[in-house]
Symmetry: C2
Subunit: 248 residues, 2 copies
């Protein structure tokens, strides 16, 4: 039996998943000796560019498909057209179609894979502006390259696709805004996550995994717990254990 | 081309590598888009029990051998005979022989694999005692189940094997004791690592990886950086990129 794996597919919010208190690291810790957490996060990528990776990252003919995959895009797709990050902009209808194709492809890879769509977090425009000034000083753009309103539209579109496709979703955009002070509590530059923001993502992901029957405490440990090993005859403890999980 | 992987093989000090500021999480973050960090840590295990896992975790016939593996045992082997954790005790000569066999097996798996031996950290006996009292109150054992002296002997034995086998090592036992206040700065219960202790392990591992030519900045990113993507013709950016790294 091979070790289960969870794949985190997304943009910088996923690429950073092993930073301080990162949601990916927390997930890897919760599922230690149960599943590997593999990060496939690509900073700055929108869904249009991510589509070029899809079949490379998730080949149909792999020996072991992921048990679960999170799809966490939108923050770059929603960058506004005509502003400084317009290169990353993807029209909302194309964004939806790309998400649809991603989910479809993963469902073909494995009909039993848990696929979770995560919307982008809210945008704190003042935080983005302060960040731009810290980088470019007086040359910083005067108009926001991302707005919370646009973020909300893309988040709604993501939820719409999840419902259409019948897969679970996390509406991070609305969830985070339920908490007073979300602007700086959860976001460090108006877009990327603080340790507290990472904790929100982790809690929401765990909730969806639990509801799908993938809670860590229901999954078997690989190899016996040390307290179950007979020190006088350790070999017997390992022979009894049927759950051997080689690397791949 | 498949994604490179680093495997962390060890006891609880490895199993916990994705906890807060964990050395495994920091490694995964440093090598994002370059290598997967897979934890194979087994809390409470000594090298004798770990030998039963070796061929399962590191099969000879896998499609992709790890690029690097850390071997981080000793904390349980060095538990004293005749004390409360004697079940975990492994005589020092057997500990050495087990480490030797692990290195030999990995060298057969891949002659080019970077194999790093890590000694156990020092033991703060007062911290162990306080921890036992917190768990068992008055029933806590009166005599330490681990001593710093024994830990030092096992650490020396580990270094000896590394030199004999010609592989790099990290003498965590001596390294940590160079810092004043190591007892509680680096250890949370006299044995397991605090966030600061994890940072020491991470820094030492990175140093060895760098010296072996595996520093993150020398390894290629998978797929182009977003700034290199031509928004008018993204396909061309992905065709040029030869470093496609499917999941396995």
């Amino acid at each position: 039996m091979m070790r289960e794996k969870f794949v985190l597919f997304g943009d910088s919010l996923t690429q950073e998943a092993f930073r301080e208190n990162g949601w990916g690291a927390s997930l890897a810790n919760a599922y230690n000796r149960k599943a590997d957490v593999l990060v496939r996060g690509y900073g700055g990528y929108n869904t249009r560019w991510a589509m070029f990776l899809l079949h490379h990252l998730f080949p149909l003919d792999t020996t072991k498909q992921p048990l679960a995959t999170t799809i966490f895009f939108g923050a770059n797709d929603a960058a506004l057209f005509g502003r400084t990050s317009e290169k990353q902009h993807v029209p909302i209808e194309e964004y939806k179609e790309n998400l649809r194709k991603m989910v479809q492809h993963l469902q073909i890879c494995s009909p039993t894979m848990l696929i979770v769509l995560i919307t982008q977090p809210p945008i704190y425009e003042e935080g983005r502006r302060a960040y731009a000034i810290s980088l470019y000083g007086e040359n910083a753009r005067k108009l926001p390259e991302r707005t919370n309103e646009a973020a909300g539209q893309y988040a709604n579109a993501c939820v719409e696709i999840a419902k259409e496709m019948g897969v679970p979703y996390i509406n991070l955009w609305s969830k985070m805004q339920e908490t007073d002070g979300w602007q700086t509590k959860f976001l460090r530059d108006g877009l990327h996550l603080t340790p507290e923001g990472n904790a929100v993502v982790y809690q929401e992901v765990i909730k969806v995994f639990d509801e799908a029957g993938l809670s860590a405490d229901k999954m078997p440990y690989d190899f016996p717990h040390h307290s179950k090993i007979d020190p006088k005859n350790p070999q017997s403890s390992f022979q009894q254990n049927v759950c051997h999980v080689p690397m791949e």
